[in-house]
């Protein structure tokens, strides 16, 4: 825009705001002109009267020129627009059913879209900001080409980090971030906290501490005992003490010095981290006090690189791919996997933050939002068509009075936007209320995704504001303009066509013409609603089936809690035995057991290779990795895992023996000795020789949906972080206080954390399907409601239009019930056609849902039947109301109109 454009705008604005004073100034100027001219003429010898007359004539028509001058500065289009808006308001108020239905549709549709958008933005879309974040990339290796999912990524360890840094020039500034869990000691009590582990991460991210500093390079490479606090723990644990720097925090018996406090929203690379320590300091902790890592070099996590300014993401990817062979020769982790590594990649951090499950959820969200908005369009469009027909005479009169097509178009677009604005305003309120309601349902995000680089989780909803901000308002405005303008154009096109027809067909008033178009709109709404509802039904049933899936253990009624000791002491085995026997004596407890692993926490399950079977050496990739579970004797009884062959552990077995007794699951038995009896056979795993004493059923420890891995159960006793399982007779949750008491009595200094029932764990493991189900249910219900409004509005208007016809038919002897049946039939035709199309669409599009479906086919008849019944009932009611009105038409009134 040039400067003169702004000057023009300025002059116009000033004129608009100060119209009165600007006009009087103009009058003064014109008067001055005439008086000066008259004075000059008088001086030239004319009489005063003649001079004044001549001066006035020279000026011309003053009133005309005044208007012309004002017109230069006025905003003709703005003023015309305001007039149009006033007119539109009047006409909307006159619109009755059609207008209200259209506004309600818009409000519901926009409300739903905005509510889900608001919540999803907090959960998924809100970007985490770092300085120059566009230079940050995530480095990964994947087994699947083109795909990047958590389970397919090969971890890059702290041991690899230096190799990567030195071999790939673009990765000179690389940092690693991950997490572990430790006890934060506070006098005699301890609290389990998530601790971020970093190596060079703070430098790469570039976020500065709000107080103090972040660890230096030497501190991180030397594993110094320094801690950087999150804002939350600083406030809660240290009560916002400004003198916290230099103080001590004790993590699992090891003292760290506080060096800094991070800003409130900083999360490092892991959600929920309360403080950060150098990853190499993990070696300081005694075995058993950490959850995931024992030795610094095995710490693995997400590698973030800040690329140098002149290197593109593509170049970095190329450099990494070139360096892979060299890396493979140097490092065991790389070697083991190098043959299978298909994609070694680099991806922008912003992209990685929205990956895997999140991305498919977003895609689904986008599809659902578009479907609902399509319904809104169809619905409002259909209602507006009805309105145009009702207003034919008005439009025709205006056209004959000289309103041009352009003016008519402008008028109808303004009207469409007024309608959209009314609906959109209501929609904003509904959206806010909906977002608050949705957040109450706490749609937890999938754990698998959360533990990667996503830096976000359901705790983000705590204290989040759902008040519409610029982005929400922007989206609302965009939708309003889009809907409003397209409605305006659509109605104008119809009106102009209609006015041509008018002249041709002499204004017959029967229900013909564009009824077909309107019916198509209603059918498409029903079809989309059926499609969304089917999707919601399929995910709902998947969730139910996930809950009832045979995971290989009996989840009810089992309570579990994780135990972590801060200090090792020699007599731990005896204490654990005491703990178990005292728990077993509690009233309401059937049995208690310990295990080194927790179901559905794949991070905590260690995998190992079987190296020898019956004395035969195995190749490295001959068998898949085996899960290792270190359990107590009662474990199988507590979790309800069936024993198929041999025996379970008994008192004759000891944890440490030369030949370790083990149980294996059926998958392991099938892999190791297909078709043979495994009892008494031997395997060797690194230095340990193991003898199989029994075979138990398969259990799914990693995910509900993936089949069990081969598993080996050893008799554990040595105190790693352990999970305590208690099988109850009644409600397992009620046992928790007693459990805490006994633990504190038997093992003072041991913290109990992450207590829940096994059922809750199952539910969390299915949280991705649960979240998607929730989204689809909201949208499905919305779509059904909107489609019902569409059916109702269309039929109601058609009944109103046809009241003259109905009146005549009643007058000539038709029974009201016949008329009702006629309208009902018309509605049912729409319903059946819409449902049929919708079901076909649902079956065809269910592929997009596949990631969330479990043991159910896209064409699941029960789900489809339920959708049909639901929509038939809703649609039936929407049809019945206008149909009844058709039967009540009074012929006298109808004919007089």
């Amino acid at each position: 825009m040039t400067r003169s454009w702004w000057t023009g705008l300025w002059h116009r604005l000033r004129f608009l705001l100060r119209r009165r004073s600007e006009l009087s100034a103009l009058d003064e100027e014109l008067r001055f002109h005439v008086e000066m001219r008259a004075a000059d003429l008088q001086r030239a010898g004319y009489s005063e009267e003649t001079a004044q007359r001549r001066a006035a004539r020279a000026m011309g028509d003053v009133a005309w020129w005044r208007e012309e001058t004002a017109a230069v500065l006025s905003w003709t289009w703005v003023e015309a627009l305001l007039q149009d808006a006033r007119f539109a308001l009047r006409s909307l108020r006159r619109g009755g059913v059609a207008s209200s239905a259209a506004i309600a549709t818009l409000a519901l549709g926009m409300g739903g879209v905005l509510a889900v958008f608001t919540v999803s933005r907090v959960l998924v879309l809100r970007p985490v900001t770092y300085p120059e974040a566009d230079r940050l990339v995530v480095v990964y290796r994947s087994l699947t080409p083109g795909l990047f999912t958590v389970s397919d990524t090969i971890p890059i360890t702290l041991g690899n980090l230096d190799e990567v840094r030195s071999l790939v020039p673009a990765f000179a500034n690389a940092g690693l971030g991950t997490w572990d869990e430790l006890n934060l000691e506070n006098g005699s009590s301890a609290e389990r906290v998530r601790v971020g582990l970093t190596s060079g991460l703070f430098d790469v991210l570039g976020t500065a501490a709000t107080m103090g500093r972040t660890p230096s390079g030497e501190e991180e490479s030397g594993g110094a005992r320094v801690a950087t606090l999150s804002h939350a723990i600083w406030e809660e644990h240290f009560h916002g003490d400004r003198a916290v720097l230099g103080k001590d925090v004790v993590l699992a018996g090891v003292t760290f010095t506080v060096i800094g406090v991070m800003p409130p929203r900083f999360r490092g690379l892991s959600d929920g981290a309360r403080l950060w320590i150098p990853a190499r300091s993990i070696s300081s902790f005694s075995p058993g006090s950490t959850l995931r890592f024992r030795r610094a070099e095995n710490v693995w996590g997400t590698i973030i690189v800040r690329l140098p300014g002149n290197v593109s993401v593509e170049q970095a990817r190329q450099q990494f791919a070139n360096a892979l062979p060299a890396l493979a020769t140097r490092d065991r982790m790389f070697t083991a996997a190098s043959e299978r590594v298909l994609a070694a990649g680099v991806m922008p951090m912003a992209e990685a933050q929205q990956h895997a499950v999140i991305r498919s959820i977003l895609l689904l969200l986008a599809v659902a939002v578009s479907a609902v908005m399509l319904i809104v369009f169809a619905n409002v469009g259909g209602l507006m068509l009805v309105r145009v027909r009702a207003r034919r005479s008005e439009l025709a009169v205006r056209a004959s009075l000289g309103a041009g097509r352009g003016q008519l178009l402008r008028q109808l677009i303004v009207e469409g936007n007024m309608l959209a604005l009314a609906g959109g305003g209501l929609g904003l309120c509904l959206g806010y209320a909906g977002a608050v309601a949705l957040s109450k349902l706490r749609p937890a995000l999938p754990k698998t995704a959360e533990s990667f680089v996503l830096l976000r989780g359901s705790d983000l909803l705590d204290g989040a504001s759902f008040a519409p901000d610029a982005a929400v308002l922007g989206l609302a405005l965009l939708l309003i303009l889009l809907v409003g303008t397209s409605i305006g154009i659509m109605t104008a096109a119809t009106a102009i066509r209609a006015s041509v027809q008018e002249t041709l067909s002499a204004g017959s008033r029967t229900y013909t013409g564009r009824a077909g178009g309107r019916a198509a709109l209603v059918m498409s709404q029903l079809a989309l609603a059926a499609c969304l509802l089917s999707a919601a039904g399929l995910t709902l049933r998947s969730f139910q089936r996930l809950m009832r899936a045979n995971v290989g253990f009996d989840a009810d009624p089992v309570l579990l809690a994780q135990l972590a000791r801060s200090l090792t002491d020699g007599d731990s085995d005896a204490r654990r035995q005491e703990l178990l026997s005292r728990l077993a004596e509690l009233p309401g407890v059937a049995a208690a057991a310990l295990s080194g692993t927790t179901p559905f926490e794949p991070e905590g399950i260690s995998l190992g290779a079987v190296t020898q079977v019956d004395g035969r050496l195995l190749g490295e990739t001959e068998l898949p990795p085996f899960e290792e579970h270190s359990v107590s004797r009662e474990y199988f009884r507590v979790l309800g895992i069936p024993l198929h062959r041999g025996r379970a552990f008994d008192t004759s077995d000891e944890p440490v023996q030369e030949v370790e007794p083990v149980l294996i699951n059926q998958t392991a038995a099938r892999l190791l000795w297909p078709g043979q009896d495994p009892i008494g056979r031997r395997i060797r795993r690194d230095e340990t020789v193991q003898r199989v004493i029994g075979v138990v059923g398969d259990s799914r420890y990693q995910r509900i949906r993936t089949a069990s891995s081969p598993a080996i159960y050893t008799l554990g006793g040595n105190g790693v972080v352990t999970t305590l399982f208690v099988r109850a007779h009644g409600n397992p949750s009620s046992l928790l206080p007693a459990l805490r008491r006994i633990v504190s009595e038997v093992e003072p200094g041991t913290s109990v954390f992450a207590a829940s029932t096994l059922r809750q764990r199952l539910r969390e493991a299915a949280s991705d399907t649960r979240y998607v189900t929730l989204l689809l249910l909201v949208f499905g219900a919305l779509a059904a409601l909107l489609a019902a409004i569409g059916v109702y509005g269309t039929l109601a208007c058609s009944v109103m239009e046809r009241s003259r016809e109905f009146g005549i038919r009643i007058a000539v002897g038709a029974r009201p019930s016949e008329l009702v049946a006629g309208v009902m039939g018309q509605g049912w035709k729409l319903l059946t056609a819409g449902l049929a199309i919708g079901l076909l669409l649902a079956i065809a599009s269910a592929g997009a849902l596949r990631a969330f479906l479990f043991e159910i086919q896209p064409g699941d008849p029960a789900t489809l039947a339920a959708v049909v019944v639901l929509l038939a009932v809703v649609g039936g009611v929407a049809t019945l109301l206008p149909a009844l009105r058709a039967g009540r038409v009074d012929p006298v009134v109808a004919l007089r109109e």
Partner: protein, 116 residues
Amino acid sequence: MDRRSQPGGQAELLPGTLEMLILKVLTGGALHGYGIASHIWQTSAELLKVEEGSLYPALRRLQVKGWVKSRWAMTPTNRRARYYELTAAGRRELLHEVERYERVILGIARVMGRTT
């Protein structure tokens, strides 16, 4: 915005030339509306005559385009009047206008067989 037909007698202005004339007149310094009108009238030896009211829409257009700016001041006879002044952009515009005007005149003159 059709301009009304002018009362006959003197030469009518070509469309769009009034703005150019105003810009030209203002190169001599700030003037009020009446001053501009009399200046055009006098320097054209009364050959050109515009309905004087038409000056004011033209002045506003020039102002909106940023070629002319205005301020209120006192006349020598101690009356309040709005004075118009050329801006730098107005000066540049005048050069363009003059160039364009000369091309048009030249073209017309050629068609008319240089009878002027």
